[in-house]
Symmetry: C2
Subunit: 153 residues, 2 copies
DNA sequence: TTTAGTCCTTCCAATGATGGGAAGGTCAAG
DNA sequence: CTTGACCTTCCCATCATTGGAAGGACTAAA
């Protein structure tokens, strides 16, 4: 199977498959004489595992850990659970942050007439020097909206 | 006021102030003879406006729109409201995505003993070829966890 | 057999918002 | 006149991903 077919079958783009190989998340594949990468069903299985992990928001680093645990028949399930729960807590923190932003904005928007007049509490609040110092404080480690997983069709 | 003091006073790092200037979000400042940037209280006010917008998760592009509306005394409040509500809907979509991830993971973790034995439903599910095709599908435009606003102290 | 079209290869660049750091100039206090 | 804190510009790294260019390989049809 060529990389395009493996991409199709796994839902991981060819670009990303090469990238995952380059960073060592997946091993280097066998090549044809012409240099084409060749994939087995087993490789596709691994790629799907990776894709599903991505879909759940795990970082590449975490996925590397999960893959290695997955392939280790002696693994302790607590090691897997720890990664999952750690990630859940990160997700939940992120959710709370976004919820705070959304609710603040909705509140402001509610008080804004939304007509052709210039008066706008949203801008007034953003411009208000009195607030915002000890306010929400986005998490230091993770941003608000990041760039994109975006699976292939 | 030098850039460091403006950073302190606004909560926007000096690095970011220079960056915002370079991309045209804020105008080029007056410089001293030695080339130091000089900021007024008014500039700091604008920077605070920007920081608060960032704290609410607006992109730089949206912030540019907000700043220009803010400075336009003739603006229609509906234009501001539209930006805010559009952003709210993006935030809410993001929140739903993360909630789906978190709840899936929590469910899996609940069924995982988390002991020293190798049996682990989390990995089994990630490896399951039967599911995951029409599953969650992270939004095509925005990623899961991005990099960092991280305000200066 | 040639040719068109689709696939593959590698390499480089961009994304968005931010931090890190180097190399060098400036300024105020001691 | 030195020290140290500040400023300047410039380049690099992050994270996961896409885009594209240049060129080779394969396949099907003319």
């Amino acid at each position: 199977m060529n990389i395009g077919q493996a991409a199709q079958a796994s839902g991981v783009s060819a670009k990303m498959i090469r990238y995952y190989e380059s960073i060592g998340l997946i091993p280097k594949t066998v090549r044809t004489e012409a240099g084409y990468r060749v994939y087995s069903d087993h490789d596709v299985h691994t790629l799907r595992f990776i894709r599903r992990s991505r879909d759940l928001g795990f970082s590449v680093e975490q996925i590397a850990d999960l893959v290695s645990l997955w392939q280790d028949r002696e693994r302790a399930s607590k090691d897997v659970k720890a990664i999952a729960l750690e990630h859940v807590s990160v997700l939940e923190r992120k959710i709370r942050e976004l919820q705070e932003m959304a609710s603040t904005l909705k509140h402001l928007a509610t008080n804004c007439h939304g007509d052709t007049r210039p008066h706008c509490p949203i801008l007034e609040e953003l411009a208000n020097d009195e607030i915002g110092e000890g306010h929400v404080k986005p998490d230091a480690k993770f941003g608000v909206l990041g760039k994109a997983p975006a699976r292939q069709a």
